[in-house]
Amino acid sequence: MSEQPQFTVKIDQNKFLPEGGREVHAIVSVEAGAEGGAMPAPASTKASEVIIIDTSGSMSYPDTKLRAAVAAAQVAVDTLRDGVEFAVISGSNTASMVYPRQGGLVTASPQTKDKAKRALSGLRASGGTAIGSWLRLADELFDDVQGGIRHAILLTDGKNQHETPEELDAVLFRCGGRFVCDCRGVGTDWEVAELRKIASALLGSVDIVADPAGLVADFQAMTEAAMGKSVADVALRVWTPQTARLRFVKQVMPSVEDLTGKRVESAPQAGDYPLGAWGAESRDYHICVEVPPGEIGKELRAAWVKLVVPGAPGEEAQVLATGNVLAQWTDDEAQSTRINPRVAHYTGQAELAVAIQEGLQARKDGDFDTATARLGRAVVLADEAGNEAITAMLRKVVDVVDPATGTVRLKRHVEKADEMALDTRSSKTVRTRKDETLTTPRPGER
């Protein structure tokens, strides 16, 4: 990793607490940029890629789905940098190798990429859906590589019907932290919550590609983003005072992702939250720590945040950047009541994601009062956050009577794809309106 980007950690917070105050909130912004601001060309970065294509029977109804998936996978293969280790898997009731036939990973070159694309065009759809078995095969393939960026793309069009949720959970538990997997649902017959769970466990993104025609561009973007990663296995190491309690650690940009449960104890009073691989990009995290109230004037380090690359067992972690989350008690209300705008912004957007997901679930369950109330709240929050993409999607599900108060009516007829898009993208966030535009391109966000 000779071309490792420069990482910076920035803390946004109001450190002042009122007398007796305990809750400390901070937004931790982690940014990695190449020196000079140019995109890194991590040609030397070791990387491996596994592309997983659903070839269950439903992929041929209509046949355009399979053909689009094959075309998308072929573009993804083309996008691979020469030298990257790769493989293509097809999945139905079980997983099987598409390329290379015999298993293992192959070094990308014009010849091997060509062979992979030819193998892809021979794919036929039949059988069921057992996503866990597909991921297990991917995991076995990654076993052969030591370190480097390990990334998978998973495309499916259906529910995970041919294995139990427990089987899937067991595979996710095993694969978590071993590779990053971006998930895509094509069509409208797949389960948003299920795919979101897989993506969350494997630190990847989830999205809907309702129209198979959109797959090619999407696969290309995903593969390019993966090729842009230069540091694998970054973690946020959070130290807290002995008497404090870490309430939560959430990714809030580019999407809301609760990392609290992913904590791995790493040092005295410190835990690591895996963040996956990084390229030239920036992500924001919301940290909340509960501290014992202190005397007026006392200053406390409520959290010590370090961006680390955890070393092998027995090895010291490599610290890329650090930041302090502070708490200081004051009797000056002007200081203690000020809410940091970024904390407020991301708190609102986290609530927005929850409001949408709860509202859509209530709607599905036939609880229209709750659905109306939650989606109405979502309209207000999306507007406050300036999250226009979500506002536009919400308006396909509800008729907005008064955006200020969140008075809405559920639409009687909603396209399944629109509802699923809203659900899937409910956790996508936007930056604070006042934030300057990003100076670094973020490959994952195109």
Binding site: W239, T240, P241, Q242, T243, A244, Q269, V291, P292, P293, G294, E295, I296, G297, K298, E299, L300, R301, A302, W304, N324, Q328, T330, D331, D332
Partner: protein, 466 residues
């Protein structure tokens, strides 16, 4: 900023001499840490090298446990360095790696003693003393204090960093150190005290102005100096830090009723305000009853002088603390006010920042505090334990090595100026401690006797920088 922290804020003497004159004989013998052998200094509770609790060091418990600052922190196991929880280690940023508490900076509470000539190592008389404290509201101490002996008396400088400027703590430190050093040099060169006072203030102003690194960056502070020579006292100031005369006989100037101006007698600072800068050095005002010696360069003082507001109204006003003159790159032309007095009897020359006088603006109030002597140690009494820890600040004189005793009642400033300074600081803390508090105390003997007590080889001492 808790009482407990103050209590534990021993002023570390280990950086003794860092950038400061350290006269022969002023330094106490250097014992070493029984654990690691590193040199330790009187009053240190823990070895700076290894954190070992030093034998004979005053146990911090009485003060620390009484302090509300300990809320939520685990009881401190002996031998561990965190002032809050006893945890270890403290990281490079100054936070405890167990409880996260930011450790008090050395400057948070500082005490200084200037030994009288001939009595250099702790047991002898003290020519002047001072104490400076972060207070209870601010996270750092932006005041600075310097005491120095010159060839024929004492010089004291107190500076208060301007909170709205950048790095105010650097400004005040620079100004106090420069001012004291210049006073000593100028007086030593035979300059008249008023000229020396004015020149030293201007040089301090230049030094502070030089701290600026860009037009938007102008570290700033106030400045007040006091020098004694022979039977006279000369004060000089810019901003709202003050000097007071507190007569030993307890008489208070009638104008000093806490509501009005300096009274009808304003002999030396006649006309108050900027004109005093051009004061002639001819007539020395005689100092009788207790009174303030300086006139603030402040919005409040201006409004009062204009007759627009009463003192009480002005102090209530949000602008009360806006100063109209300061040291700093953005200060424009600096014109120090200078005034000279001749005490008629013994008394105390008090030099302080507004952290003290905000609570006790009138000379009468301050005189009453002195007369009352040290108050009974309160629950968050910071001074007692701090005393011995910090007393050996710069002069190296550990006057008070026993743990936590309070100076004898019925304060005699001449006998225990540090005790007086401490007491005044503690009163300001007890009153709320909203600002940094700095007090310098210079006992003034009865006229005629001073000459006998002034000799040549005089120690020089200032507060230690961080």
């Amino acid at each position: 900023m808790t009482g407990g922290q103050h209590g534990a804020d021993d002023h570390r003497a280990d950086d003794q001499g860092a950038g400061h004159a350290d006269p022969d004989g002023a330094k106490a013998a250097e014992p070493s840490c029984p654990s690691c052998g590193e040199t330790v200094y009187p009053g240190e509770v823990f070895c700076e090298e290894c954190g070992h609790r030093l034998a004979g060091a005053p146990p911090p418990e009485p003060v620390e446990s009484a302090a509300p600052g300990g809320a939520g922190a685990a009881p401190a196991p002996a031998g561990d360095p965190c002032r809050g929880c006893g945890g270890t280690p403290i990281d490079a940023d100054g936070y405890c790696e167990t409880c996260g508490m930011r450790q008090p900076a050395e400057r948070d509470h500082v005490e200084v003693e200037l030994p009288a000539p001939g009595g250099g190592n702790g047991s002898g008389p003290v020519a002047a003393a001072g104490a400076s404290d972060r207070g209870r509201r601010y996270s750092r101490n932006e005041d600075a204090l310097a005491l120095a002996a010159h060839a024929a008396g004492v010089a004291a400088v107190v500076c208060d960093g301007v909170g709205s400027s950048q790095r105010p703590e650097d400004a005040s430190r620079t100004a106090a150190d420069t001012g004291a050093a210049e006073l000593v040099a100028l007086l030593g060169a035979g300059e008249d005290p008023e000229d020396a006072t004015r020149t030293a203030a201007l040089r301090a102003a230049s030094a502070v102005a030089a701290l600026s690194t860009s037009p938007g960056d102008a570290p700033s502070c106030t400045y007040v100096s006091a020098v004694t020579r022979g039977g006279s006292v000369t004060v000089g100031w810019i901003g709202d830090s003050r000097a007071y005369w507190l007569s030993a006989d307890g008489a208070v100037d009638p104008g000093e009723d806490g509501t009005g101006e300096g009274g009808d007698e304003e002999p030396a600072t006649d006309g108050s305000g900027p004109e005093t800068a051009e004061l002639s050095t001819g007539d020395m005002a005689e100092l009788g009853p207790s009174r303030r010696l300086t006139e603030d360069d402040s919005w409040a003082a201006f409004m009062i002088a204009q007759g627009a507001l009463t003192e009480a109204e002005a102090e209530e006003h949000p602008n009360a603390h806006v100063i109209t003159a300061w040291l700093g790159a953005d200060a424009g032309q600096v014109s120090p006010h200078v005034a000279t007095f001749r005490p008629a009897g013994p008394g105390t020359l008090l030099v302080c920042s507004d952290g003290l006088w905000n609570y006790f603006p009138a000379a009468r109030d301050l005189a009453a505090l002195l007369a009352a002597g040290p108050a009974a140690p309160g629950p968050d009494e910071p001074a007692a334990a701090t005393a011995s820890d910090a007393a050996n600040g710069a002069g190296g004189t550990a006057t008070d090595p026993a743990p936590g005793p309070v100076p004898d009642p019925g304060h005699d400033p001449a006998a225990d100026p540090l005790g007086v300074a401490r007491t005044l600081v503690r009163h300001a803390l007890d009153a709320g401690g909203r600002d940094n508090i700095t007090v310098a105390v210079i006992p003034i003997p009865a006229p005629r006797s001073p000459h006998s007590s002034i000799h040549e080889s005089i120690p020089h001492s200032t507060e230690q920088p961080r």
